[in-house]
């Protein structure tokens, strides 16, 4: 990981965790989603159903726009592939987002 991406990552996690916190308003007290890199976003171990995931995507895009001042589309690049989809965990999503932002910076 380059130093530039590492710098991005803290802010990206801030944005994603803020989205998780807002999404948790919809979740019962005993099913709160932990804001951790290993938290699964889809698949058998996920806390989210399809509606929760849709809401999370929109919230995450809004928080990233607030923090970085650019719009990002997280639904590109086969996001829900079991092997390589960036929505496997919060950690994989953060890395994917960092690469998106880096590409935006280069534009």
């Amino acid at each position: 990981m380059t130093p530039a991406i590492a710098n991005y990552l803290d802010s990206i996690y801030d944005s994603l965790y803020a989205a998780i916190r807002e999404l948790n308003l919809q979740m019962p007290k005993n099913r709160q989603i932990p804001p951790l890199p290993q938290t699964a976003l889809f698949g058998d171990n996920s806390y989210l159903d399809s509606l929760g995931l849709a809401n999370f995507i929109v919230l995450a895009e809004q928080k990233l726009e607030q923090n970085f001042g650019v719009t990002v589309d997280l639904t590109q690049d086969n996001p829900f592939s079991d092997e390589s989809g960036h929505f496997r965990t919060l950690g994989t999503l953060a890395l994917y987002t960092a690469s998106l932002l880096k590409a935006k910076n280069r534009e």
């Binding site: 308003l25 919809q26 399809s50 509606l51 849709a54 809401n55 929109v58 919230l59 895009e61 809004q62």
Partner: protein, 580 residues
């Protein structure tokens, strides 16, 4: 989720599951259990007969105009359509809402809105007859008019939720991913308003604002500056902001909210501002009561609430001083103490933003509530000049006007049923539709009681309902506003009710007391009412072979000859037992 939570049935033409989840997990009162009808099934859900009505159930109907009005969908694509068809569709929707209303305690319907990116005819959109913005106003207005006469149906303003969310209000991505067009901030505003509406219909609205003076009602400390120099009105931004805050308070007063003062000040000095400052909007007569002294404000609030016969759960306290706010919050958790901005220019908008004053009906009694309390204050102060309580009662020349339930007194009747705690025999909470339904059985009657005296008209303050089953009858509701409690109105109400029962050949009347945390005064009254008390059943009974003595200090006016005859005989009987 606790068992006392309220049920909300959600009907929508889009996916409101996220709203349902969020309102269930929202910790603010009232707690809500949400159940969603399948989205997109608006009309079948509105008309579905098997949805059971219960006293706990509310319904939210949130639709987009194009989802329920086919002609509006055409308009949205700038296709030709017949205006008459559109109006008929609005009326049909409104008829379905009215049908739905009979199954719920209340139905909340959101006004229709359009996303900001829908520009219709652009610059000409308001001028074209089929312009989208213009049509939107017209369909909303028609819906409001159609629902005007439908009790138990309330229109909620969704535009305010969209404005609060700004550019995040509509989310095309969310629409394509989940079939919900609205972002989370819209849902959160909607939850706040829906909960406020449920609380309002359930009678949990606030009715007394206790306000501080220095730096809250006006700028500066009057004890230091003198009444001439406090900041209020004038050509000064701070003074204008305080004047607007006072206007906002006055607006709420006109909606039936009582105002009172709790201030740490020297009374005469502080009152000079209210009496003399030419720019003051509020005057002493705008306040139902005041405590201006150096005592603890929490103690003063308790005192004010007791004087005005208002429960602490009905009180809101406004003070610029965070220490005073913290003290009242800690000492009186039932009192609502909103966080208050440091910036004085935000006072008026913060006050008007509060949803806790929303009433489900506005009656003439609400509009003149402060005057009623001021009249009561004068009445009480006159009390000291009489030798006995009964002599004082006679001097008031109290008149009790009895009316059967009708369309004009129905809103106030429902308000009394839902709001009265202390003098309430059964504490039944019913909406207008439910009460009408209950009275549909031919053996049930309900009377309202209006009280007038030399100090003014207190409006409708009491209700009694009676269920007659052959020779037995039961007083089901016995409700009296605390404003007139203890003035022999209670006995007069019973005399009216028993007179009616006797005229119908009833031999015995029973009243079952249902205890709550707040209706001990009602039990105390019934224990002293002369009715026989069955302790095991908490039931009171009266044998109609005996006349119930109506209090001589209360003149009863009603148009039922049977009641009048009975009252005359009761008075004759009473003349034998009362000393001259």
């Amino acid at each position: 989720m606790n068992s006392s939570s309220t049920e909300l049935y959600i009907i929508s033409d889009f996916n409101l599951e996220a709203f349902a989840r969020q309102i269930e997990n929202d910790s603010a009162q009232p707690q809500v259990r949400a159940k969603s009808a399948p989205h997109g099934q608006v009309f079948p859900s509105l008309l579905k007969a098997e949805t059971k009505a219960s006293q706990q159930e509310f319904c939210l109907v949130w639709t987009q105009p194009e989802g329920v009005l086919p002609s509006f969908r055409k308009a949205l694509q700038l296709q030709p359509f017949a205006e008459q068809d559109l109006w008929s569709e609005v009326r049909h929707f409104s008829d379905c809402l009215k049908q739905c209303c009979s199954r719920f305690r209340a139905v909340f319907v959101t006004s229709w809105a359009l996303p900001s990116f829908q520009r219709g005819y652009g610059l000409l959109d308001f001028q074209q007859r089929s312009g989208l913005r213009r049509l939107l106003l017209e369909v909303n207005l028609l819906l409001a008019k159609e629902l005007e006469s439908s009790s138990g149906t309330y229109l909620l303003d969704s535009t305010a939720w969209l404005q609060a969310a700004g550019s995040k209000a509509w989310s095309p991505k969310l629409w394509y991913l989940s079939k919900c067009p609205f972002g989370n901030e819209v849902l959160q505003s909607a939850i706040r308003d829906v909960k406020a509406a449920i609380a309002s219909v359930s009678g949990s609205y606030r009715k007394l604002i206790v306000v501080d003076l220095d730096d809250t009602l006006w700028g500066g400390v009057v004890g230091d500056l003198g009444w001439q120099s406090v900041a209020i009105g004038g050509h000064d931004y701070r003074g204008e902001a305080f004047a607007d805050f006072q206007r906002a308070l006055q607006t709420l007063r006109r909606r039936g909210v009582l105002l009172a003062i709790a201030s740490k000040n020297q009374e005469e000095i502080a009152l000079e501002v209210l009496r003399q400052h030419p720019e003051m909007v509020l005057r002493l007569d705008d306040f139902a009561a005041y405590r201006i002294n150096w005592n603890d404000k929490a103690a003063n609030i308790v005192d004010l609430a007791a004087e005005l016969n208002v429960g602490l759960q009905s009180v809101v306290f406004l003070d610029d001083n965070p220490v005073e706010r913290a003290r009242v919050r800690q000492a009186l958790p039932e009192v609502l103490v909103p966080e208050w901005p440091d910036d004085k220019t935000l006072f008026a908008s913060e006050l008007l933003r509060l949803t806790c004053f929303d009433l489900p009906q506005l009656t003439s009694e609400d509009a003149s509530r402060t005057e009623l309390y001021i009249a009561r204050r004068q009445r009480e102060s006159a009390k000291g000049t009489f030798a006995s309580f009964d002599e004082w009662l006679h001097s008031l020349h109290t008149i009790l006007v009895v009316e059967e339930l009708n369309d004009s007194n129905l809103p106030r009747t429902v308000q009394l049923l839902n709001k009265t705690n202390q003098m309430n025999l059964a504490t039944r909470r019913l909406g207008e539709a439910e009460l009408r339904q209950w009275l549909r059985a031919g053996n049930r009657k309900l009377w309202t009681f209006r009280v007038k005296d030399d100090f003014g008209d207190s409006g409708i303050v009491g209700i009694v309902s009676l269920q007659i089953d052959g020779a037995e009858a039961q007083i089901v509701d016995f409700v009296l506003s605390c404003r007139v409690m203890g003035r022999r109105i209670e006995e007069a109400m019973i005399a009216v009710c028993l007179g009616h029962a006797r005229a119908l050949g009833v031999e015995r009347v029973r009243a079952d007391f249902a205890p709550t945390a707040k209706n001990r005064p009602c039990l105390d009254f019934w224990l002293g009412s002369g009715f026989a008390h069955d302790q095991d059943k908490n039931s009171f009974s009266w044998d109609l072979a005996k006349l119930y003595p109506a209090p001589p200090a209360v003149e009863i006016l009603c148009d039922d000859p049977a009641l009048l005859r009975d009252r005359e005989s009761a008075n004759r009987a009473l003349a034998h037992v009362l000393p001259d």
